[in-house]
């Protein structure tokens, strides 16, 4: 079964009397294990599209099917469960909690997952993930004690915490140097190859986009060839 299917998805923002068609009639099928890159000018609707897929922005029209289920017809708690267990979101914006350490930030998705106290295993896993993004020595640092790129990497580690089937990465390497960027891409590729995790990644780096198995270009909310 195709893991993710978008059928004629549109999203229109109303600002006063103006209508902004951020996403326009996009239809798309993504198989499990794919690695899709999305490129496009600023304001072309990439973040909006990713958010629709991730269950945090309801489309104005169209349907989103994940493993056959229409996610926007789910009730609130089921939709939360979808976000929690199926999706790993790496946001374009700063998204760490200032009052939590790196390792606590990474563990946060587990807190929302089940009605149980978190086990020592969860902490071990979080520390491992931080090691994988090169922050094994900063597990107890607060976000304010980290550089922008380091914060970004904590957010990357967090996305993998609940073993999601689909990672939605919105410019995940935007503020990283080339070397770290390459490291992160290797991490993604490894996760993609070894664990079969599907990736949808927004990037401005056309070189990076070209390396991906599949590419998509957006312009003014439309999918463009």
């Amino acid at each position: 079964m195709t893991q993710l299917v978008l059928k004629n998805v549109s999203k229109t923002y109303l600002v006063g009397d103006d209508r902004i068609d951020a996403v326009n009639d996009i239809s798309l099928g993504i198989e499990k294990g794919e690695f899709l890159s999305i490129v496009g000018h600023s304001g072309s609707g990439k973040t909006t599209l990713l958010s629709i897929i991730g269950g945090i922005a309801k489309p104005s029209s169209g349907t989103v099917l994940f493993e056959g289920d229409d996610i926007y017809s789910l009730d609130g708690d089921r939709l939360s469960k979808y976000r929690c267990e199926k999706i790993g979101f790496i946001f374009q914006f700063a998204s760490l909690f200032q009052n939590l350490t790196s390792v606590e930030n990474v563990m946060l998705p587990v807190v929302f997952k089940a009605r149980r106290d978190k086990t020592a295993g969860d902490e071990k896993k979080a520390v491992e993930l931080l090691g994988m993004v090169g922050l094994g020595d900063r597990v107890n640092a607060y976000p304010s004690q980290l550089s922008g790129g380091q914060q970004r990497r904590v957010a990357i580690a967090r996305a993998f915490m609940n073993d999601p089937g689909l990672i939605l990465a919105d410019e995940p390497t935007g503020d990283l140097d080339e070397e770290t960027e390459a490291e992160m891409m290797r991490l993604f590729a490894g996760m993609n190859e070894e664990r079969g995790i599907t990736f949808v990644m927004v990037t401005h780096n056309t070189e990076l986009a070209r390396q991906c198995k599949r590419q998509m270009r957006m312009g003014q909310g439309f999918q463009v060839p």
Binding site: D77, F89, Q98, N99, V103, E104
Partner: protein
């Protein structure tokens, strides 16, 4: 690492925003302490008077015309006063319809050095045959009647005089002190009790202004089925030389005066409560943009509405509880410490029981926590309902 869950998350949020947490907890503590203090004050006077008049066990008291205030001062505030009427009134009161039992007491003021060798106090001469006021306490204390030249002291005066003293000269006559009565919560706790068989000797010694056949106060029990007020009115109609006070009216002036204080106080407390709720609201609103983003991100990471609700409510409850507990303790401490510096309290033999204080403290606690939750609920509701993407981006720039 300790367990990491919604509650530890909430605690970390509070710890890392110490100033905000502190201001809110402190304001809640203040309002709760005002509440507890205020109601302890009002409550102890009101309750004290009610308990004292109930403990007297008399439906009506009959006093000389114009002596009503004096009588209340003796019975409630343990002031030393003497006032007298003719003993013949006792028989006349007995004959009034509806009157069941009657007993009388004679109050004698001691003056140290002049007549007596103890500090100023009221000596109560009571009639042991008809008495229903003192006998219950007396039976508990010594299990028998007082003999001639024996005295027993009230609970408070035993503290003043000192229990070591075995003997005292009262109005020229020597008395053996048998011990102390248990606390009754009335003004009589400060008195010294003797049998009225001694009055004759005291008169003979001439060290008291008392004249023969005088009494100060007559206590009346009304037959069941009769309204004390009606019986009281009948007595007053029958005997022009006497004033009658019903049990429920004892201390009425004080209670009425207190009602006004109570009112002013309640309004002030109400306004202060609203103010605190607004403060809680303002503080939570002020951080709500920041919290909105956090909530949005949590939602995007898979948090349910209930998770957000729990996180914020936990924070509010912790602040509310800390503030309220501190406030309840502060208010109680304040009322205990200041109690004796109010003239109203100085003579009133009133004290809230531990139980009363616990109830007041608990009420203050509930009020404080309630105020906190009320104030914080609005932003929590708002945060809960918004679309995650919208709030995440809202403040990103």
């Amino acid at each position: 690492m300790k367990a990491f869950n919604i509650h530890t998350f909430a605690i970390k949020n509070l710890k890392r925003r110490k100033f905000r947490t502190g201001v809110l907890a402190f304001s809640i503590a203040l309002i709760v302490s005002v509440l507890v203090f205020g109601f302890s004050f009002i409550g102890s006077v009101g309750l004290g008077i009610k308990r004292a008049s109930d403990r007297l066990g008399s439906d009506l008291i009959v006093v000389p015309v114009g002596a009503r205030g004096y009588a209340e001062e003796v019975l409630l505030e343990s002031k030393v006063k003497s006032f007298y009427m003719d003993k013949g009134l006792v028989e006349r009161v007995k004959k009034v319809e509806g009157v069941d039992e009657v007993t009388y007491q004679t109050y004698l003021a001691t003056l140290q050095g002049l007549c007596c060798d103890i500090p100023e106090a009221t000596v109560v001469a009571f009639n042991q045959d008809s008495d229903f006021i003192v006998m219950p306490w007396l039976t508990k204390a010594i299990g028998r009647r007082l003999q001639k030249n024996e005295a027993i002291v009230g609970h408070e005066s035993s503290l003043n005089i000192g229990l070591g003293l075995m003997d005292a000269v009262l109005f020229g006559a020597r008395f053996t002190l048998l011990g102390a009565l248990e606390k009754s919560g009335t003004g009589l706790d400060n008195a010294i009790f003797i049998s009225d068989e001694n009055v004759e000797e005291i008169l003979r010694k001439g060290k008291s202004p008392l004249k023969p056949d005088q009494v100060s106060i007559i206590f009346v029990r009304v037959k069941s089925g009769y309204d004390p007020y009606n019986v009281g009115r009948a007595i007053e109609g029958e005997i022009v030389e006497a004033d009658v006070v019903a049990r429920t009216d004892i201390g009425k002036d004080t209670i009425n005066a207190l009602k006004d204080i109570n009112m002013i106080f309640s309004i002030t407390v109400f306004m202060a409560s609203v103010l605190s709720a607004l403060l809680a609201w303002a503080i939570f609103s002020a951080t709500v943009n920041e919290r909105l983003r956090e909530a949005g991100i949590m939602r995007a990471l898979g948090a349910r509405e209930s998770h957000i609700m729990r996180l914020f409510l936990t924070e509010v409850l912790i602040i509310g509880c800390i503030g309220s507990i501190c406030g309840a303790v502060m208010g109680t401490a304040l009322s205990v410490l200041l109690a004796k510096s109010f003239t109203l309290f100085k003579n009133l033999p009133v004290d809230l029981t531990v139980w009363d204080r616990l109830i007041l403290g608990a009420a203050g606690f509930a009020a404080g926590t309630g105020i906190c939750i009320t104030g914080a609920l609005a932003p929590i509701q708002r945060i809960k309902k918004m679309e995650p993407l919208f709030v995440i981006k809202g403040d990103a720039a």
